[in-house]
């Protein structure tokens, strides 16, 4: 089933610019970029079982660095993009120490760290432009090819996202990825088995910030403009939600979630002014009724079909491992 889904998704993604108009290409590009950010976040929520609420910070730092290098200093694509990713990585190397804290403290700490980035973007007006942001980011030029039209830039984004997703697949299936899931299930046990839990969490944090940074670079060239809006708490929270809504612990899930969220927002904002409340409703409904996400629901349904119905309880067990329960169960009382 997964292969068919991936095949269909790849086919649709490749053909998209041929059939869609500019508005939709732009929206799909945005979905891919936001999905990549959510994929990075899901390395922590879905695989490691810790919940970062400040990843928009890495996304925004990369976007700002790229925009400032290219728009203000004319450094070209490779230096600007590399500088953007490097900025996110450096920040992650510092902020990564937050994995020393556990549970709720980690959530609140990352939230506060993300807020620092937003605050600096907002207040350090001489460097970041404050609320006006950094505008006039030129289209990327790679090996003499100008990615000026959106349909062309779309393929660049698609290529980067696919490369990242393949790398991610290798990563989560490696012994390192298995160790992360071990930590999610029981940190104590992994420590007892001799794993260096802090080092694993720290590496996972930096890697997930790397993906957020790549997404930030793509965002800077897509939007041609970076403002503190990229670093808000809303962006961080939505990146977490998107992963869970699609299906935590899967690769396709975050992209499905991003497609749904951005789809809803773009569709609704044309008709009603209530989309923030509706987003809130999506948060609530997802947590209460679809904690395994849409992919979890689909798997449950297909398991039911193959088991000839009436297998609701076993199907539930087969669904995506739940980051929620384990994050609470993973901390035995002292």
């Amino acid at each position: 089933m997964t292969r068919v889904a991936v095949g269909i998704a790849a086919g649709l993604a490749l053909a998209a610019p041929l059939v869609l108009d500019t508005f939709w290409i732009s929206l799909v590009t945005q979905m891919l970029i936001f999905g990549l950010l959510a994929l990075g976040v899901d390395l922590l929520t879905g695989h490691t079982g810790i919940l970062p609420m400040g990843h928009a910070g890495f996304f925004a730092v990369a976007a700002y660095a790229t925009a400032i290098l290219d728009a203000r200093h004319g450094q070209g694509f490779w230096l600007s993009a590399g500088g953007g990713v490097l900025a996110a990585l450096l920040l992650a190397v510092v902020f990564g120490f937050s994995v020393r804290t556990g549970g709720v403290y980690f959530i609140l700490l990352t939230l506060a760290l993300g807020h620092i980035v937003w605050g600096v973007a907002m207040r350090w007006t001489t460097f970041t432009g404050g609320e006006n942001g950094v505008s006039n980011v030129p289209p990327p030029v790679i090996a003499g090819v100008r990615f000026a039209e959106l349909s062309r830039y779309y393929y660049l984004v698609l290529g980067v996202v696919i490369a990242c997703a393949l790398g991610y697949r290798v990563l989560v299936r490696s012994p390192f990825g298995l160790a992360l899931r071990g930590i999610r299930e029981s940190e104590m046990r992994m420590r007892g088995l001799g794993y260096h839990v802090f080092a694993h969490k720290y590496c996972a944090f930096v890697l997930s910030a790397f993906l957020a940074g790549v997404a930030g670079v793509l965002y800077a060239y897509w939007n041609r403009f970076v403002s503190p809006a990229a670093a808000t708490f809303h962006a961080s929270a939505e990146a977490v939600l998107v992963g869970i809504l699609g299906g935590s612990g899967t690769i396709l899930g975050p992209f499905v979630g991003a497609a749904i969220i951005l789809g809803i927002r773009n569709w609704l904002s044309g008709y009603v002014g209530w989309w923030t409340a509706i987003m809130g409703g999506v948060f609530i409904v997802t947590v209460l009724w679809a904690p395994h996400g849409l992919i979890g629901l689909l798997r449950q349904a297909s398991a039911q079909v193959t088991a000839g119905g009436g297998a609701l309880t076993t199907a539930g067990d087969r669904a995506v491992p739940d980051a929620h329960e384990s994050s609470a169960a993973g901390k035995p009382r002292p």
Binding site: L108, T126, G280, T286, V287, P291, A328
Partner: protein
């Protein structure tokens, strides 16, 4: 020299406001292990409701307590029908309360609009006040300090000297044991959550008079309250008192000395503190 004292007063009055907000947050967490990220939205909604009450009746005290009372009802509904269903699921709970905050904030936006609104302070709190040492200070912010001290005193007495406080302290320490002793912890928690929500609503009214109310204020103030709670240690009332004082002062001096990096001044030291003491100054294992 005068500026140093003025900034200290600014810091303490901001600390008083933060304490109103953070004390509820920290007790909610201590007793129910509930991380309520909608606490900032409770603040904002309480402030707006207070503003409307003030405009229709003209009574400041009615606005103050009315704002708090409405939030009690809102929080009861949230707890009873939503938050209680995600017990022991921290990740889900956090996202759920973010969702609640989104919904409440959008309701506020629809009803009160997007422009910053300022609650007019009551007659007795307008104008400046002359303090010893020839310092002239806004009377409202000075009274806010006293109000914060009174609330802190009442909470402290409630927490350390009454049966209810003893139950809450016991519940913070060992929830299951209190449950096994035949005390309805859910009801106890609902009570504490209501009190926390009341304080959040009151702080919205109190803060609306000098920080103004605007869309997004819920996250701005929540971020500060979180730092207070983290610095003081989750679940510790004394920690919240000291934490709000520290954060208020650091923020005031930060804004004065390094305006471009004032956020960093508040959040940076907190991050460093957590590296040394992962559970805050007075916290326990989460």
């Amino acid at each position: 020299m005068d500026a140093v004292v003025l900034q200290a007063l600014n810091g303490v009055s901001m600390g008083a406001l933060l304490f109103l907000l953070a004390s509820g947050f920290t007790l909610t967490f201590g007793l129910g292990r509930v991380v309520n990220l909608a606490h900032g939205a409770f603040y904002l909604l309480g402030g707006y409701v207070g503003l409307t009450v003030l405009r229709t009746t003209g009574h400041f005290w009615l606005a103050l307590f009315g704002g708090g009372a409405v939030i009690i009802i809102v929080s009861w509904v949230c707890d009873r029908y939503l938050i209680r269903r995600t017990r022991d699921n921290v990740l889900g709970q956090v996202l759920l309360t973010v969702g609640i905050a989104y919904v409440l904030a959008d309701v506020c936006l629809a009803v009160w609009g997007g422009n910053p609104l300022r609650l007019p302070p009551p007659e007795f709190a307008r104008g400046p006040i002359d303090l010893p040492g020839g310092i002239v200070y806004p009377r409202y912010r000075f009274l806010l300090i006293i109000f914060g001290l009174i609330v802190a005193g009442v909470l402290w007495l409630l927490y350390t000297r009454t049966q209810l406080g003893a139950l809450v302290r016991a519940g913070v320490d060992d929830r299951e044991m209190v449950d096994a002793l035949g005390i309805d912890v859910d009801r106890l928690f609902a009570l504490v959550f209501g009190l926390a929500a009341f304080l959040a609503g009151v702080s919205g009214v109190a803060g609306g008079a000098f920080l103004t109310l605007y869309p997004g204020a819920e996250w701005d103030i929540l971020a500060y309250a979180l730092v207070v709670v983290i610095v003081g240690g989750l679940g510790s009332l004394g920690g919240a008192m000291i934490g709000s004082l520290i954060v208020g002062l650091v923020d005031a001096y930060g804004r004065w000395l390094l305006p471009e990096f004032s956020y960093f001044m508040v959040f940076g030291p907190m991050a460093l503190l957590l590296l040394v003491r992962p559970t805050g100054l007075f916290g326990r294992e989460s």
